[in-house]
Amino acid sequence: MSFFASLREKAPFLDRISETFTPVLTRDEKFKLEYKLPKGENILDDINADLSFLHPSTRSRNGKSPVSPKAQQMAVVFSGKVYLTPHFILFKDIFDQSSCVLILNISTIKRVERSPSASYSCALLVTLYSGTQILFQFIGLKYRSEQFCELLKAKLRENIPNAKTLPKFLDTCYSEFLIRKNILGLKDTQPPRAGLGQQFKYPGNPVLAREKAKLRLWFEYFRENGRHLSLMKNPTFHKLIRVGVPNRLRGEIWELCSGSIYLRYANPGEYEKLLIDNKGKPSQAVDEIEKDLKRSLPEYSAYQTENGIQRLRNVLTAYSWKNPDVGYCQAMNIVVAGLLIFMSEEQAFWCLNNLCDIYIPGYYSKTMYGTLLDQKVFEAFVDEKLPVLWEYIVKHDIQLSIISLPWFLSLFFTSMPLEYAVRIMDIFFMNGPKSLFQVALAVLKINSDDILQADDDGMFIAIIKNYFQTLDQSAHPDSPDMKYRQITKFQELLVTAFKEFNVITEQMIYQERSRHEKTIFQNIETFVKRTQLRHMPRTFHLTDDNLSNIYDIYYNSIESHKISMGTGSSNMNFDIFVQFLSKICDWCKPCERDSDPAFRKQKSGFLRRLFDDWDTASIGELTLNDVVSGLDKLVTPDLLESINYFFSLYDSDNDGELHREEVLQLSEGLLLLTEPWKSGRYVDLLTKKSIEDDIAENIAKEKIIEETNNGDSADISMEQIELPTGVTVDEEKYRAEQAERYLKAASNFLQRSFEYAQSLDIAEEVDLIDLSDSDDGETNQEDKLQKKKKKYESIKANAALDPTHPKVIDLATFRMIILADETYELFFAKTFRLSIHVDESVQSDNNKNNALRGMFDGILADGRRVAEQVRRRVDSVATRNSMSSVDSQTGGSLQATVNTDKYDDMDDFTSDQQLEHEELLNNPWVDVDDAVDGKEPVRQERAIQALPPQLADHDLIEFEA
């Protein structure tokens, strides 16, 4: 009998499509759902007990004594289980729970006393505020009963403050008014403020509906079984609802059935507060609500007055603030307009809460996933229960949802005349959403003969519309039997719906939902993604595929946001931003150095800079569009743009100049960004080149030896070059080389920064330039690294922090410094861009390994380039061999050609950048680099090492020029 699971509860599970769709409801969740108890009402304890209900009238008939033994015997005894939650005592009959369910709010208890009992381990006599007494007689071990009593005692104490709000609350309950007026004889009590119907008349004819008789029956029921916060539901309760609730009581019965009465009691003043706190605040929902106010049940007279409109506005607006994930959805206006005829604003507000949370979750959500899902479920039911009709609908391509969607979305309020719609609502609130399916199926079934004649949507719609307009007419106008003739179409509908389609259970709905969820959610996600990608800002470097990947990774990172449900904020805060970047950027991935606080600080420093730069609205959060625009700037293939952007990140005052502190921060940023290469986790193209060359060199050597041995100097085609398998690369060597290169770049950068910074004391700085690497070229790598580190530290300490020499670097200088170093130049041209993996989708994101071992595998896999190298070498050796006999001097020039080719190989800048390169090259200060450019990358290091004084010299001259 468990109520279908609220999707809200399921949300965390549904979010991941790949995960199970069967939400696992805990016992507590099931319990709360079944009895519509508010959130925190978890079961604290439970115990078997017998219960008897002694209402005041029984007592008075038996004289003054509170519980005479006789009365006890007379009262009906139920056997069942008692549950204790923080604010409730709940009892249900263990054999047939429809026979008795008592939900007792603890604050309605006035007194609890032990009752002597011979046959039970322990018995409690509970006296309510109204004088009604309930006897609980616990079954089982004594110590368990005592435990329960202790806990109950504690809860009673805790609920004392709540009891203070009880009298005020009672004034708002019509049932209480009935009792006061008729039992206590308080003839002048005013009925509580209720719905608009009180003033503007309720729909339907009160005489025909036998309102007074019904009201009397309810009065009797309340007197005997309690009311509102202390009500026992027995079969009569359900029967009374089925015959139709009297209009004056309807609001309270809806509240009781939906459990919203408990929310209203638990949150006094919240509704008012929501309205006051948000008064005059603009929002999209408020605008949308305003448009629809005059279009909500406009034929009901109250909604032609400002009073009615204002109530509607209040409730809808308050809810939009209470639940911003939903905000406002068209159709809510109509439903709330319906509620407000019978309920006060506050009642309607809380009722709407439970309606959206428990009854029809997701119907009004931003993606309307609940609506879409239940349409699918409904179609499945039609297929199953009305197969002939379904076949016909499919055959004629009739869109069933066009007719059924408004039924579900506006709970029949827009389809049926009001007086009938509210009857459906009575049962809906009592039995849950299955009633909607049952009624909908019944409507189709009753009209199926006519529908089978319809051949398009238009006729189908006309038939149904006509049916709803004639619900008050006889279902069998031609029957000779008078009694039979008197049955109206509406009565027939109820019987068909709740008798014949009683087979539709919550469990079935639940199963169908989980069957279709996946498809629906995927459709929604596809749709939402498509829509959002269309809303993206224009990008210059990111392709549509990139955007799609970014979208996926973005939403993958924001776990609180459910795309398919449209709930939760879709913005990104700084922490999520870091997670997000670490998924796509090599330099943001977690690494060993993260354990170093200084490094962590650098990292977050840089990321914060990036975050703030992307946060265009300065709200401390990024939107998807911000992220897309930001990434678009990062991945620019334009070397200069890339350098400029990096510069601008550090130029906090935007004056086009970096001051000492900024330069230091920038250099730290550079260190951080280049860390993955410096530590050898990734290899850049220069190292890759060098590995390839070395492999090629080896192979070529073997080939040449082979050839020499064979004396065969025929051309070698690529196919002939067999790449070695299982070759081990001296990883350490390349790693160290690369690390050295990056360290050197870093130290050179800082050195040059302060060297070329304006207002610089050259002499002093020159002393610090130490390019002594060339001297210890042969010493072991470890020493070298140590030395470099030390040197870097000393430079940093001395030159940079010297406050007596204010230094400023402008963009042009910065560019020059970057371009003066091949590693950094490559970094901005390519390495950095390639380290941002916007081209990889979420799934393939993991383990994209650019580390050395993987690197070598990659080279072999992509062996053509190596083969090409081998061929060249072999060719060149062959040519040289043949030529050297003729002219030994040409060898050198050939070598040069080969080198140039290699450089081209590596350089796949588009022609645009080539042009810019040329532009760059025209700048005098680039000449320094030019000398280096033409050379083969790794060897270039040696070239520099060989010419340190010259290089430094050169630099200075150019700068002065």
Partner: protein
């Protein structure tokens, strides 16, 4: 006169409150009202017109404009042969939304779909041209780029409403007499009748008014 009736399934799309339902109401009932219940999900209406001696029956799917109802739209534009994408000439945002709908249809809908871009509410400009926020040229340009029909209409005055539908009808290949389906006579319903699900319960005496 050709006795065959060509049915055209047409869907209206566009931002909320641009006048989709009003255009349909004008076309189907030659009527206009300021206030109307919002369209829940979608409404379905039909109208016959004679185009070049042929009878064309428009089966019109009028969709809800609120943003969140957009995810229902594929259900309605499925199999549609024609679409009206409506924007409000006084609301630039609605023109952006129109662009999105064009993309959506180009990507997702029937490739042969005849689409008309419609800038509605030009009546507002009569007294005050300053109200115009989307230039006629802008609309024309977009329509030309995307290969759409283009009209500026007023559902209030009726300007260009019928013309829009006729232009669509003219672009759709007509059925010959032999193709006529036996079921396309529309016997059970009067074609001029507006069948609006959202209103069916409260049709009596409503002073409906729609801003969307």
């Amino acid at each position: 006169m050709n006795s065959a009736v060509t049915s055209i399934k047409l869907v209206l799309l566009g931002e909320a409150a641009v006048g989709k339902s009003s255009i349909v109401l004008r076309f189907v009932s030659n009527d206009f009202s300021e206030n109307k219940e919002p369209t829940i999900g979608a409404a379905f209406l039909t109208q016959r017109v004679n185009i070049n001696d042929n009878t064309v029956k428009f089966e019109i799917w009028d969709t809800a404009g609120q943003e969140r109802f957009a995810s229902l739209a594929p259900m309605y534009y499925r199999n549609a042969q024609a679409a009206l994408i409506v924007y409000d000439v006084t609301k630039p945002q609605s023109f952006i939304k129109a662009r999105h709908w064009i993309k959506e249809l180009h990507e997702q809908a029937n490739k042969d779909m005849i689409i008309a871009l419609v800038g509605n509410k030009v009546d507002v400009l009569e007294n005050n041209e300053d109200e115009r926020k989307v230039a006629r040229e802008e609309g024309e340009k977009l329509a030309e780029e995307e290969g759409l029909l283009f009209f500026e209409t007023s559902a209030k005055t009726g300007l260009n409403v019928t013309e829009t539908f006729v232009a669509i009808g003219e672009k759709i290949p007509l059925k010959t007499a032999g193709d006529q389906e036996t079921d396309s006579n529309g016997v059970a319903i009067s074609d001029e009748q507006r069948i609006d699900l959202a209103n069916s319960g409260n049709a009596a005496g409503q002073t409906a008014g729609c801003s969307c």
